[in-house]
C-alpha cells in the first residue's frame, strides 16, 4: 500500500493528537478578519520576540518536538472576528483579543516566559464586565458547540501534517479501504445529515441517488459559492480547515463512485481560494489524492475553480452551467444533477459545511452525531451572527437552540448604532439572507431548525443571522434584499426578472411616500406570483423578505403609506423638518447652510422652513448648534 504510507509516516510512531496537545503553542488567527486587522504583523513580531527572548521557537510541526519548545502557528478563522487579531496560547487556555504588534513583547515576557496572564488583553464581557481568560469562561465560545469550527481555530490550515496528526484523513481511509459505497451512504442517511446550504435535503439520500446511477463517470462538486450577503461560515471553513472539506468530498466520491471532484469557490474569497488550492496540492503530494488512493487502485482528482460573481450560481444547475463555461442560468429539475449533472453525468453538489461534517460522522458514528440537535434536524449548524449585537462572529450551536440564546447569551445582547448595549433595543433578526425572512421578539424562544423556521415564513438558509435594533426601518431592509435579488436574478423566468423589478418599484413607492392603499395588496399578490412562477430557489424565495416583513411589521408599512412617516427617520423622503420656535434663536446659520433657500426668518426671530423647497438634506440640522431643527 504505497499510498497509505504517508499517513502512517506522520502519525504512525507517535500518537498524533497527544503530541499536538503537549507542545506549547501560540496560535495567531489568520482569517480574513484578523488579517485585515494586522494579524500577520503580530505573527512576525512573535517570531522575532520569541527568538530574542531566548525561548526556542519552532515553525514547522515535528513529531519529535520537545516540551521546552514553543510552536508558533497560524490558524483559520476563530469566529470572533470583531475582537481580532486573536492570539491563543495552548494548553494554557488563554485567549488574547485585539492584539497589536506592540503588545507582543509583553505577552512573550509575561505569558510565555513568566506564566502570567496579560490582563488588559483579555476579553471583557460587556454585560458582566468580567475578564475572560480563555474559551471556557467566555460566553461567546462557552455556550457554543463547536464541532466543525473547533479545528479552524487550532490547526494550521497550510500544514497538511497537522491535519493528519490530528486524526485527519482516517475517515477517508476507512471509507476507501474498509467500507462499501452502500455502507457509507447508509451511515450518512442514518445520521440524518441535511444540506447546510439552505435546502436542507437529506445528504445520504442525495448520495444514494447518484450511487445507483450506472455511469463510468461521476462528479462530486463542493459548493463554496457562499453568495448570501451576511454569511461567511463557508469562507471560514475553507480558510481554516480546507482538508476537512477535501476529506468530506473524498468520502462522497467513494460513496457514489466518482473519480473527479471540483471545489467551486466564490471569487470574493481570495484567501479561501488560495488555501483550498494549497490543500489540494498538499494532498496530492502526500499521495492522499491521486491515481491510487489508499492503495485501493481507485483514482480521485480534485480541482479548484473560482466563481465570477453571480449569486444564482449557488443554485445547483446554475453552478453546473457556470463550470461548463456558460452563463450561470438554472434549468428545470428533473432530471436532478444526481441523475444528469455536469457534462450530463451523475453529479452531487454539497455545501462546504455539509461536507465538513462528513468525516466526523464516519469517525464517531451516526448515533453520536444524532445525539445533539433535534430529531428532524440533527447535529450543529453554524450561524453568522452580525448586525447590531455586541459579539459578532461565527456561532456553531445545535439545531433547536433558541434565538434568545444566540442573540443575548452568545451575542451579548443588542446594541445601538454606536455599539453600546441597548437593553430594549431588539427589533428583528433577518435569518437566511435574501431568501429568508425576519423573526421578531415573539420568536425569541422558537427553537431554530429547518421545519420550525419554515412554519413562521423564514428558513435556515445559509445561516446568516443579522440582528437589527429599533433604529432599523423594516421597509428599507426589505428593499435592500429586493434590490439584491433583483440585481442577481439571471433573467430566465419572466416573473423573477420582471416581478422583482416591480416589487422593488413598489417598495420604492412606500419609502418615497408615493404609495397608496393598493400598494400592500399588490406587493402581496405579486410576491406570491413570483414564488410560484420561478424555476429556481432564487426566484422562489426572493419575495420572502417582503412577505415576512409585511407579515410581522405591517404597521410600519402602513405608517409609511398613510401617515407618510418613518418611525426610525431612515426614509429621507418622509422626513418633515421643522424648526422648534421656542429653541430657535434666529442666528441664521441654517439659512446659510440651506442649499435651496428653503429657510427664511428675521435675525433673532424664529426661522421657518418652506416644505415646498426643502429637499430634506439635513444640512440645517448639522449646522444648528442648539438642535432646534427637529424631525430630521
Amino acid at each position: 500500500m504505497p499510498n497509505a504510507e504517508p499517513l502512517t509516516s506522520v502519525s504512525g510512531h507517535v500518537n498524533g493528537s497527544s503530541t499536538l496537545a503537549q507542545v506549547r503553542r501560540v496560535i495567531i488567527c489568520a482569517g480574513t478578519g484578523c488579517m485585515a486587522n494586522g494579524a500577520m504583523k503580530v505573527f512576525e513580531q512573535f517570531k522575532s520576540e520569541i527568538a530574542s527572548s531566548g525561548l526556542r521557537v519552532i515553525l514547522e510541526l515535528r513529531a519529535e518536538a520537545t516540551s521546552d519548545e514553543i510552536r508558533l502557528s497560524k490558524s483559520g478563522c476563530q469566529g470572533f472576528c470583531q475582537m481580532g487579531p486573536l492570539v491563543s496560547v495552548v494548553p494554557d487556555g488563554i485567549l488574547y483579543t485585539k492584539v497589536r504588534s506592540e503588545d507582543v513583547a509583553e505577552i512573550v515576557q509575561q505569558t510565555l516566559a513568566g506564566d502570567q496572564v496579560v490582563e488588559r488583553l483579555l476579553y471583557k464581557d460587556p454585560s458582566t464586565r468580567k475578564s475572560c481568560r480563555g474559551l471556557e469562561d467566555n460566553p461567546f465560545y462557552s455556550r457554543q458547540d463547536r464541532l466543525v469550527l473547533r479545528e479552524c481555530g487550532f490547526l494550521d490550515p497550510e500544514d497538511i501534517r497537522e491535519y493528519i496528526l490530528h486524526g485527519g484523513y482516517q475517515a477517508a481511509r476507512k471509507a476507501f479501504v474498509e467500507m462499501s459505497p452502500e455502507e457509507i451512504c447508509k451511515k450518512i442517511t442514518d445520521s440524518g445529515l441535511r444540506g447546510r446550504g439552505g435546502g436542507g435535503f437529506p445528504t445520504g439520500r442525495k448520495w444514494d441517488a447518484a450511487r445507483i446511477q450506472n455511469s463510468a463517470k461521476k462528479y462530486v462538486i463542493c459548493n463554496g459559492d457562499e453568495g448570501d450577503p451576511g454569511a461567511f461560515m463557508n469562507r471560514s471553513v475553507m480558510e481554516g480547515n480546507p482538508h476537512s472539506v477535501i476529506e468530506g468530498m473524498m468520502i462522497a466520491a467513494r460513496a457514489i463512485g466518482a473519480n473527479e471532484m471540483l471545489v467551486y469557490v466564490r471569487a470574493e474569497y481570495p484567501l479561501a481560494v488560495e488555501r483550498m488550492r494549497r490543500a489540494v496540492a498538499d494532498a496530492e503530494r502526500e499521495g492522499i489524492l491521486g491515481k491510487n488512493v489508499f492503495g485501493t487502485g481507485l483514482a480521485v482528482k480534485c480541482e479548484v475553480m473560482e466563481g465570477a460573481g453571480a449569486f444564482v450560481c449557488g443554485e445547483e444547475t446554475a453552478m453546473i452551467a457556470s463550470i461548463e463555461g456558460q452563463r450561470g442560468m438554472p434549468r428545470p429539475k428533473p432530471p436532478f444533477p444526481a441523475q444528469s449533472g455536469l457534462w450530463g453525468k451523475p453529479t452531487i453538489i454539497n455545501n462546504v459545511e455539509t461536507l465538513a461534517h462528513v468525516s466526523r460522522i464516519l469517525n464517531v458514528g451516526p448515533e453520536v452525531f444524532r445525539s445533539i440537535g433535534t430529531k428532524d434536524s440533527p447535529g450543529t449548524k453554524t450561524f453568522a451572527l452580525t448586525g447590531h449585537v455586541s459579539n459578532t462572529g461565527l456561532v456553531e450551536v445545535p439545531f433547536g437552540t433558541t434565538l434568545r440564546e444566540i442573540v443575548y447569551n452568545i451575542g451579548g445582547g443588542v446594541t445601538d448604532d454606536a455599539g453600546k448595549i441597548w437593553k430594549t433595543g431588539f427589533k428583528a433578526v433577518q435569518i437566511g439572507g435574501p431568501s429568508g425572512g425576519c423573526l421578531t421578539e415573539d420568536h425569541l424562544d422558537l427553537p431554530l431548525a429547518y421545519e420550525s423556521l419554515r412554519s413562521v415564513g423564514a428558513m435556515v438558509g445559509s445561516g446568516g443571522l443579522v440582528a437589527m435594533n429599533q433604529g432599523t426601518c423594516m421597509v428599507s431592509i426589505a428593499r435592500f434584499f429586493m434590490e439584491f435579488t433583483q440585481r442577481e436574478s439571471c433573467g430566465k423566468c419572466v416573473l423573477c426578472r420582471e416581478g422583482t423589478r416591480q416589487l422593488l418599484a413598489l417598495l420604492d413607492d412606500v419609502i418615497e411616500g408615493q404609495a397608496d392603499a393598493n400598494t400592500l395588496d399588490l406587493l402581496e399578490k405579486l410576491g406570491h406570483a413570483v414564488q410560484v412562477g420561478s424555476l429556481c430557489g432564487l426566484g422562489k424565495t426572493a419575495p420572502n423578505p417582503v412577505l415576512s416583513t409585511l407579515r410581522y411589521f405591517r404597521k410600519e408599512y402602513e405608517e409609511h403609506i398613510f401617515e407618510k412617516r418613518c418611525r426610525t427617520g431612515r426614509c429621507k423622503a418622509l422626513l418633515s423638518p421643522e424648526i422648534n420656535e421656542v429653541k430657535c434663536k434666529g442666528c441664521g446659520l441654517c439659512i446659510k447652510a440651506c442649499p435651496t433657500q428653503a429657510i427664511t426668518g428675521e435675525k433673532k426671530q424664529p426661522h421657518h422652513i418652506n416644505p415646498e423647497l426643502c429637499i430634506k438634506c439635513g444640512a440645517c440640522a448639522t449646522a444648528c448648534k442648539i438642535q432646534a431643527i427637529e424631525g430630521i
Binding site: T32, P229, E306, V466
Partner: protein
C-alpha cells in the same frame, strides 16, 4: 480553417492571451477561467481581446460576450489605478455602509453610472458580501481590507493615496523631464 491566418497574425499582438488560451487548451469549457486570467492581465476585458478569444475557441462572439456580461466580476471597461470597493452585504448595510459610499463618491466625484475618476486614478464600486461581516462596515482599497470604517476614515485613506500620487507625479516629472515634454 479560413480564420487561421488572421489568428496567427493577431497572435503577435496578443501573446499573453495566447499563453492563457494555451494553458486551457483552447477548450470552450474553460471560458470563465480564461476570462479571469485575461482580466488579471489587463485589469479588464478589452473588446478586441474578447472577439479574439471567441475566434480561438471557435465559438460565436455572442457566447463570449454573454458570459462576460453575465458575471459581476468581469469588467468591460478599464478601471482606475486604485480600486475602492465598498461592501454592500447585509451586515455592512445595517451598520451604515451607504454613508461611506456617499462620502467617497462625493470626495472623488464618481457616481453609480460613472465609477472611475476622469484622471483614471480611482474606481469606486460596491461589491457583494466579502465575508468579513464581523468587521462591518468594510471597504477594500487595492486588496487591503479596512474594517469598521467610517466616512471620515474612508476619505482620509483617499487623501493619503492622493498625497502619494502627487509625490509620485512630481518625482517622475523631475526625473524624466524629456518624457514629460514629449507628452506635452
Amino acid at each position: 480553417m479560413a480564420s487561421m491566418p488572421i489568428a496567427v497574425d493577431r497572435a503577435e499582438k496578443f501573446e499573453k492571451v495566447c499563453g492563457i488560451l494555451k494553458r486551457y487548451a483552447c477548450r470552450p469549457s474553460g471560458l470563465i477561467p480564461i476570462l479571469q486570467a485575461i482580466q488579471h492581465e489587463y485589469q479588464y476585458l478589452p473588446e478586441e481581446v474578447l472577439t479574439y478569444v471567441a475566434t480561438s475557441l471557435d465559438v460565436p462572439p455572442a457566447r463570449v460576450f454573454g458570459v462576460a456580461t453575465f458575471y459581476a466580476h468581469f469588467a468591460l471597461e478599464p478601471k482606475g489605478k486604485h480600486v475602492i470597493r465598498i461592501c454592500d452585504g447585509t451586515a455592512c448595510h445595517v451598520k451604515q455602509s451607504l454613508p461611506v459610499l456617499d462620502a467617497l463618491r462625493e470626495k472623488l466625484g464618481t457616481s453609480e453610472k460613472c465609477k472611475t475618476t476622469a484622471d483614471m486614478l480611482f474606481t469606486v464600486e460596491t461589491v457583494a458580501c466579502l465575508g468579513a461581516c464581523g468587521l462591518a462596515p468594510v471597504i477594500i482599497v487595492d486588496e487591503q481590507v479596512y474594517g469598521q470604517i467610517t466616512p471620515e476614515r474612508a476619505v482620509a485613506l483617499v487623501d493619503e493615496i492622493q498625497a502619494q500620487e502627487a509625490m509620485l507625479a512630481t518625482a517622475s516629472a523631475t526625473e524624466q523631464p524629456s518624457a514629460e515634454e514629449s507628452h506635452a
